[in-house]
Amino acid sequence: MSNTLAVRAVTEFQETFHRIRTEVAKAVVGHDEMIENILIAFFAGGHVLIEGVPGTGKTLIVRSLAEVLNLSFNRIQFTVDLMPADITGTRIVMDRDEGRREFVFVEGPIFAHILLADEVNRSTPKTQAALLESMAELQVTVAGTTYRLPPPFFVLATLNPIEMEGTYPLPEAQLDRFFFKVRLTYPTHQEIQRIISTTTTTAMPDLEPVFERVEAPEKIMALRQLVREVLVAPHLEEYVAALIHATIPAGAKYVSGADPARIALPKDEHVNRYVGFGSSPRGGQTLMLGAKVVALLDGRANVSYDDIDRVTMPALNHRLVLNFAAEAENIDPATIIARIVQSARKLRR
């Protein structure tokens, strides 16, 4: 790629990103940072877990995004009696014209570019596992036959933090498969006012797709590939590794004794006290990929420390498994991550 092409690719990425944000913002009032995080995860090739109280626009965000991206979209409302086949699809007996009957695979709702798994914690772990396997492998296996999911595949799962009765919290291993976890907060006064004014009239917002429907998947995949082309200096990789290791408490199980790290952060007191298990290496991948998207959005072909710090919170907050002490003292992962990021600033020099 020549310099001109490279510049054009970076510029196109920035423009596409900003256009998507602008179009989604027409339908979704507020939540700018959450929408940006969702888009970062989308272009990085990950999936997003959205946590928020009902009525805060979770479904609207996903629907608007699918409409703007001009991609296929499905929504699954998870319930207790939802079965894996209800997600992945199943084989049914079909009568052919010749009178023959055969099993035909009927794709489930998972076969879409963008899937909204609403209240994913209300289904049984078996159903959840079916979804999460598809998210990780980008494929579905039914009756011994593997079916590839159409790229780009993007899952937005929502969690309802209230009404915890009859729910099945996602296991930590399942949570780790989500790229980001985004917490939707209550809108502000002005945002509520705007929501009321834009959604209670006959005039509905007209979202304009950024891509043509035919070329949308290919273009999105090209942009995802461009993200991976962003260059990273070795000391930034060391920085990410140090961040990940900083989330692991001292004396934790499954930690190798000899770790000849060139740079390392001292174990934070909060980490040792409140964290049961730290982030997995997948957290490091998430950090770097998210940082690359941020770098491109900033018009750079390289990752910086600020890019990494920018995505640390959504990338790690669902990967820290806190213990009972943290729950008793009302310590959330965001507090611990903020301390780690603060202490990691000295590694920049």
Partner: protein, 473 residues
């Protein structure tokens, strides 16, 4: 391929690398200087403390402090060496520092890391490589050497300079003080000691053998005013001298053995030499000077003529007044007047001077006392010395004034000497000697009378004031 020679890409890379190396050199120079000055500051302060402690602290406390201080200095030396090594920057580290200083957001360090990884001559590591290079080239003005490089003289130079000057000052103070002079009696200075030995020995001989009165006795007649006090003072002074000699003896004993031996030999040789000279010459041995030999009993001194044998103090006073008269010292000053104080000069010189005085006394008449001018030389040739002389009435009747002890001794000595040296004139001057003997007994009785007499306090005050005026002049 990356970095094909002659291409714009290669030129841009060369420019970036060149500037990076220049900035890196400045970084390393600064690091070197900074650590050097830091170490120099610590060492200077440590040395200053050690020097100061050596003079201000006791030996035990200084030892207690010095070793930890030296340990701290050694630790600081290693610390600064380690910091210097750790602070030495390679190209990647220099690029990271430039990124941080210029706000390049790791653009340069990413590019340099790719270069150091060996991207030259290979396919581009990423499709965004040209973009990264273009980005860095466009931002070259942001990290010019002048903007990024640290100052040529680090801030640590000032504390280093201050501490160095402090240490220099502390080190120079003992060098300027006499405390640093070498021990004069050390073996290293043996040559100097031996060369000074005659002088030292002369002083010692003078202290032991001098016939001249002490400097405090220069007024001669002090015994007239407060005999008891004077005696007490003289006794105290003798005790002081005795202590001084004792200290001197102690100091000699504290010398190295060979030095003591050398001094003893020199002293012995000097004394033997002095005895030989005195035995060969006309001067009698010192222990004989103050006594009349049996054969000389008939040679009684005639104080009516030999009254020039003044106490030394009186001679000094008279000569002083004479000199004030611009060299035209009248008879009161006397030709034998010597302006040199008894304290000055060596003992041998003083002995010679005394001998000369006696010789002069043989041919010239001098009054018994400058304050009591004789009939022949009251004012001399108008010398101010005469004018400033003491009123003869000050002491009452001159006939009642006797000589002091010194006068008496010197008179005896002078008579004795003349008796020995001028035997041919014995006939001519035999009458004089008898006459003098009579005068002596008469004067001794007068002297006793004066000593026993009660001197009024106001009289004594007048004499003291007059004498103090004469001394100030």
């Amino acid at each position: 391929m990356v970095g094909i020679p002659g291409t714009e890409e290669r030129l841009a890379l060369a420019e970036i690398e060149d500037r990076l190396r220049r900035v890196r050199a400045r970084f390393n120079l600064y690091t070197l200087q900074h650590n050097f000055y830091g170490l120099g500051t610590a060492l200077s302060l440590g040395v200053a403390l050690l020097i100061f402690g050596a003079f201000a602290l006791s030996a035990w406390f200084f030892t207690l402090i010095a070793w930890p201080l030296l340990a701290v200095l050694a630790f600081l030396l290693l610390l600064f060496l380690r910091r210097g090594v750790a602070g030495w920057t390679d190209l990647t580290t220099a690029a990271r520092r430039i990124d941080a200083l210029a706000g390049l957001k790791e653009r340069l360090s990413t590019l340099v890391s790719q270069l150091t990884a060996g991207v030259i001559g290979k396919p581009p590591p990423s499709s965004l490589w040209p973009y990264l290079l273009e980005d860095n080239t466009a931002r070259l003005p942001d990290w010019e050497v002048k903007k990024i490089a640290p100052s040529r003289v680090p801030w640590s130079f000032l504390p280093f300079l201050a501490s160095f000057l402090l240490a220099l000052f502390v080190a120079l103070v003992p060098l300027l003080s006499p405390a640093t002079e070498s021990d004069p009696f050390s073996l290293a200075n043996l040559g100097t000691v031996l060369s000074d030995l005659p002088d030292r020995a002369g002083r010692m001989v003078e202290d032991k053998m001098s016939l001249l009165p002490d400097s405090q006795d220069r007024w001669g007649g002090s015994s007239m005013f407060n005999e008891g006090g004077t005696k007490g003072e003289q006794q105290g002074e003798k005790e002081t001298q005795g202590e001084g000699r004792e200290q001197e003896t102690r100091s000699l004993a504290s010398l190295p053995e060979e030095l003591q031996k050398a001094i003893r030999q020199a002293l012995q040789g000097l004394q033997d030499k002095g005895h030989d000279q005195e035995n060969q010459g006309t001067t009698p041995p010192p222990h004989d000077r103050l006594a009349l030999r049996p054969s000389d009993e008939r040679k009684k001194p005639d104080f009516s003529i030999e009254g020039q044998n003044l106490p030394k103090g009186k001679e000094q006073q008279a000569s002083g007044h004479g000199q004030d008269g611009e060299g035209k010292g009248g008879p009161p000053s006397g030709t034998g007047g010597n302006s040199q104080t008894p304290d000055q000069g060596s003992g041998m010189q003083r002995l010679d001077r005394a001998r000369l005085d006696r010789k002069n006394a043989r041919g010239q008449f001098q009054p018994d006392s400058p304050q009591i001018p004789g009939s022949e030389g009251e004012a001399g040739e108008g010398g101010p010395g005469a004018g400033s002389g003491t009123d003869p009435r000050l002491f009452g009747n001159p006939a009642n004034l006797g000589n002091g002890a010194h006068t008496f001794q010197l008179a005896l000595d002078a008579t004795h000497e003349r008796g020995e040296s001028n035997e041919g004139e014995e006939k001519d001057e035999g009458g004089i000697i008898e006459k003098s003997t009579k005068g002596l007994s008469q004067r001794q009785s007068l002297d006793d009378a004066i000593r026993k007499a009660q001197i009024p306090p106001e009289y004594e005050e007048i004499v003291k004031r007059l004498f103090s005026r004469g001394e100030s002049q």
